[in-house]
Symmetry: D2
């Protein structure tokens, strides 16, 4: 059955798999010091045009978020994010489990704005009770967001400026970073991300790898970050498993090329729905598309193609998500099109 | 260069890798519900002769320890272990990071005994201040231990009985479980482990996999263990990466066969050292061998073969660890022998 | 200078102080087992008409909230409260520090409703991703709320019913419980509170004591709650300091009588403001009054009488809080009246 | 009945109580900013000859230990202490509850030495796996220790030097500080303590107060320590309750005078036991005396005088603790003497 329900049901990109196969017989170092992790880190730093960056590999996204946030903040500090931010909704309270309060701001299409952060900080600083409150110390945004939307260069610069003004760190959750960077609307690139952030991660699990995320601290990592990775259970002994995969993904632009495929397919998918008169919940330029289905359409498609139920704005309408990925083929879109 | 420094510098067992390759093109479910994870779980339950068991896959060992321990205990409870226990020494305080105190007892060759636990519990229960103390609620042992030693059937039964008497859960860290079960001295098997424990894990990373440990709760898992895995950042989205590997490891006894190779090689390695007059720090029947080197021998071998410096009991003697694995060859042992 | 800025700037009620003085020379037991703590617990159970209740004394409010919440919940569970709930706003993230996520719902005059909780739970249970979310397990409400409002008997019964339906514990923060129970609008009493809740606390610090809150579990406390109090640093060695105070407060209805004075004074204060044409931000029946001041009035009163700046709904208006207490006198209200 | 079982069964020193009574009618600020807290802080700074010190009041000892330790350390850091240290034994895992590992060293009469710390640090720094271990960052010692012993000036200087060498903070738990400083063997004073430590606390609960400990950071407190106090639930709203007590204790040397009484009485108590031929488990110069009782003596004294069972080194001998305090009278010692 056709399946667009999410972008991590496939295996590894063939070139990633090949690299695992061809390096399998070697003896390598461990805990991030194997030669493939080292090579991948160099390639990522080059792709970010950030020679002083520190790069680390972690197996999954929630783990990366909780490790980065809890390692960068003091106990009296908290992290600002959109109410729809992944850390606020779908990580089972992993950030709070480390003792950190998530300070959620209302979102617009998954985004928060520099103005909101400015207002929040200005209110906080003006509050005579602020010593009895959690000190905001980091801004977390997802790029693309949980609704598939992205931020423009201008929006990120504005957020960065508010962060600088108030001493906030900026952390970008890039679980789907490739799909954001490769979309048609995007006016920025990896070096810009590295410039604007204190820390971000390049998602591998959803963009060609079997597992693994690359955390990048363009201005350097917190002291003893390695020990904090270990302490949160996030260190892989046989680190090559992620290192080899990122080494392949950052060879000859594979990461971007793989991501681009998802965008091309998403555009075709959008057109297919649009041509058949379906409406969209949100105008997403990336690989996640949010379609409005009435009861009849919902019944007709269920069981014929995989998608994810997102939310039910009213009794008759259901918002569903269709996700493409690096592995989605033109033929799959055509087959979907015939079902609509 | 020959390298015996640790048992996780190699890749995956060829049969494990093949299974990853041959299943790579498929679309599978996520978060532990993919068909390979399901299949692997069934095979593990069968190997444990424990149909009611709950099985989960987690990427690494420290993560498994902290997730299991913190999920099984209440906040006022702690975990008993040997001073040399991995959770007490080499996990950067991961267990304490979850708020749980490790209650360390003196070890003998890496082991603790039923008598020690009995005495500790009896003292605790007799202590009028016990409400101001951490309540012991779990016993953690490693099998094999950090010194390569194992427990006998009788020793484990005795420990189990003390646990039952005092309401303690028994957790066996099986990072190297295969190497313990396959060694000549071992008088027990997987079904026995499943019977004697409340929870244990079957280490994959060190026995044939690229990553992954299989946590087994023979009498059932704590409620909402899945959410607690997620909350500790330990859930893999593309869970097949571990599921496929364990599916291969538990097909046709591969896990045990792979482990047996390490034991055969370790016996040869022991003989090689012994024949050349080297002494042993501990009489280990498993894949980790602890050799005594004087200054001269240390200098001679350094740079010619990889091993790990373990401890320095006195100025002139160094204890070093040589580890074999499923991938160690007869030729490597012979080459080592020539160097001694 | 007149000071209405908060209700904990005074000392102890004279009868409370006398009891401390007259018992000072005695030798008593410790850690909650002194005779005054025991006597006070019996009196509180009687006042609650709840013989099976477990009662504990803790020095302060934030400590009580974090101890109760973290002791009642499992790590995968969270606590529902109003966005304006004290635990969400003004406790420096103490609840999150224990690893628990606060699930904040929009408030109305400081209150949340049974309908909101019902909707939240029904959405949660219907969410296919709920295993990746924090499980709601407790409802926290303040009585009176942070805006001085209270809940009716009917409203609390409705909330209780939703809690029963979904297996949620109900926790009432009674930092100002006396001021709620004694206000004219209140249609419920302490035995009703004990019936409707799983746990609540009777605030002493703000109602006659120097320090101390009485936590009541009408249906029994969690196992080893004493050890969890100790573990959170919340156990007083010389426990009589709080025991003696509550023993006095629950002798001859002192707690209620002391609280009633604050309500009488608050009514007079309301009338004084009202007579002079001031507006109210909220219609509060308890000891906290929220007055609207324009710029001129704000300037005129500043420096002549103490009050607290609450919020600034717009450029020209400031919401300020005036709080009465058990120690506020008729003369103070008259003096205030002359200033308006 | 005579009771020497512990030093916190009495009330407040009469002069402390008087100060509470005479200030009770006043209106004061809150959260540590009341005038009595301010005054007490100045007096303590003067007594410490440490004008740049930051002083905070916290209600109890366990709370102080967990708040100080968790506020001073980063998540990857741990605290060195004696196996018998209060934080390691009798605080229900409060330090671990904040995520910090306690690194326990063998004690000698309750003490650890500079040499032990030096060896531990040197081993740690030489350990190639140290990134997988908890980084020692603080030394915790009790003065007097849990066995009533003290450290000499020379011993503390040596410990300080090791701390400076390895970047460790030095924290002295002074729950019974007065009883240490006033004992005959003591060759140091409060200004020396302030000089040698990064942080220490002056115990009030056991030396004249109803509750309260004064935390002193002679070289300045961590940033936002107030918020971290609040976050750990350790902030008293009506802070005067502790402020007034320490204001009295540090007026005209009351703290030291009160402590001296306990020492005089302890000397008399020692002589009484010694004269009757009893043996001592430890030679303690402070207010806690550890007496060896055989079965007969134990039976004879039980029920006639209160003492605490400490430990049972063998079947026939019991170590019991007799504690004097600021309130112990000469007559009580004489009465005890007649019972022996």
């Amino acid at each position: 059955m056709l399946d667009f329900s999410c972008d991590y049901k496939n295996g590894a990109h063939p070139a990633v798999l090949s690299h695992l196969v061809e390096t399998n017989g070697e003896i390598t170092d461990t805990y991030g010091f194997d030669k493939y992790s080292k090579s991948a880190k160099e390639k990522i730093k080059k792709a970010c045009k950030s020679e002083e960056a520190d790069v680390f590999f972690i197996a999954g996204g929630t783990q990366t978020n909780m490790t980065v946030i809890s390692s960068c903040l003091q106990s009296y500090e908290g992290v600002i994010c959109a109410t729809t931010g992944h850390i606020n909704c779908h990580e089972a309270g992993a950030v709070e489990y480390t003792g950190v309060k998530v300070l959620a701001l209302p979102h617009k299409d998954g985004r928060i704005s520099a103005e909101q952060i400015e207002r929040y900080m200005s209110d906080f600083n003006g509050n005579p009770s602020r010593d009895h409150m959690v000190f905001p110390a980091m801004v977390y945004i997802s790029f693309p967001t949980e609704y598939g939307t992205i931020y423009t260069k201008k929006e990120l610069c504005d957020i960065r400026n508010v962060c600088l003004k108030y001493g906030l760190k900026l952390f970008i959750d890039g679980a789907r970073l490739g799909y954001g960077l490769m979309c048609g609307e995007c006016d920025l690139d990896l070096p810009f991300i590295a410039e604007v952030c204190d820390v971000f991660y390049i998602g591998g699990t959803k963009v060609g790898a079997l597992c693994g995320e690359a955390v990048v601290f363009p201005k350097g990592a917190p002291a003893h970050f390695i020990t904090m990775i270990k302490q949160r259970g996030a260190m892989l002994a046989k680190s090559r498993v992620v290192g080899v995969q990122f080494d392949a993904l950052f060879t000859d632009g594979l990461y971007f090329e793989a991501a681009r495929n998802a965008i091309i397919r998403a555009e075709e998918l959008k057109k297919a729905f649009s041509d058949k008169g379906y409406g969209f919940f949100i105008d997403s330029p990336t690989n996640q598309q949010f379609i409005l289905l009435d009861e009849k359409a919902l019944r007709r498609l269920t069981g014929k193609v995989g998608f994810e139920i997102w939310e039910k704005p009213d009794g008759n309408t259901t918002v569903v998500r269709f996700a493409t990925s690096w592995s989605t083929t033109k033929e799959e879109i055509e087959e979907l099109s015939r079902l609509l």
